[in-house]
Symmetry: C2
Subunit: 122 residues, 2 copies
């Protein structure tokens, strides 16, 4: 569950609609929660990473195949995969010198699908 601010003196500042502001402040996300949520969406906020995630939503792929698929250098893809790993959006397994990447969880597909929905004027 998201926690609420517990400050008792939340409404010192003057503002137009004191009651509403005070209530809304009490219900506000904690800075840290907002930061983490934004962090996750920020990682989703790049076309290259969207392409990678979309490709991975179909099947497990190794780095060099991803590079070929999204038509970018191995280094660029590897950097992006690092970010995706950091946000727990993808996971990988090592098999010899290859690294096979896949989505970390099925709910990532849902997030992606909702993003697609949105642009399709959903």
């Amino acid at each position: 569950m998201i926690q609420l601010h517990n400050d008792t003196d939340v409404c010192e500042e003057l503002c137009e609609h004191d009651q509403i502001v005070c209530l809304a402040k009490a219900e506000m996300l904690l800075d840290e929660d907002a930061r983490q949520i934004a962090e996750t969406f920020k990682i989703l906020g790049d076309p290259t990473r969207i392409k990678i995630l979309h490709a991975l939503s179909k099947r497990e792929l190794c780095v060099c195949d991803i590079a070929a698929i999204v038509d970018m250098g191995q280094s660029a893809v590897s950097h992006q995969l690092r970010l995706l790993r950091g946000a727990r959006l993808v996971k990988y397994r090592k098999e010899g010198k290859m690294a096979w990447y896949s989505l970390d969880d099925t709910h990532i597909s849902l997030l992606l699908a909702q993003g697609i929905e949105h642009i399709k004027h959903g």
Copy 2:
């Protein structure tokens, strides 16, 4: 629906797993779609905007109240609301000199909720 690339000569480049890469390329998002999806997520990828959206998910708010709630300047909030409008994440109605903002659609709440789910190790 998302369209597929229709290039017939998609697999000229050499790569490790030709079949898979060829198939994956055929299923790949169009650049323009990936760009738009990323654009939407990018807008969600900022703590200030997450806070604004979260506050708006509870109730309609005017600009100066939002500024008080997220504890930022009116100008900064107005700039962010512009971005949120551009991404069709919020809408607003004018009432005299006030502008009352709200989420553009209920599915925005769902997107937000999924982001929250993710950080709560969902």
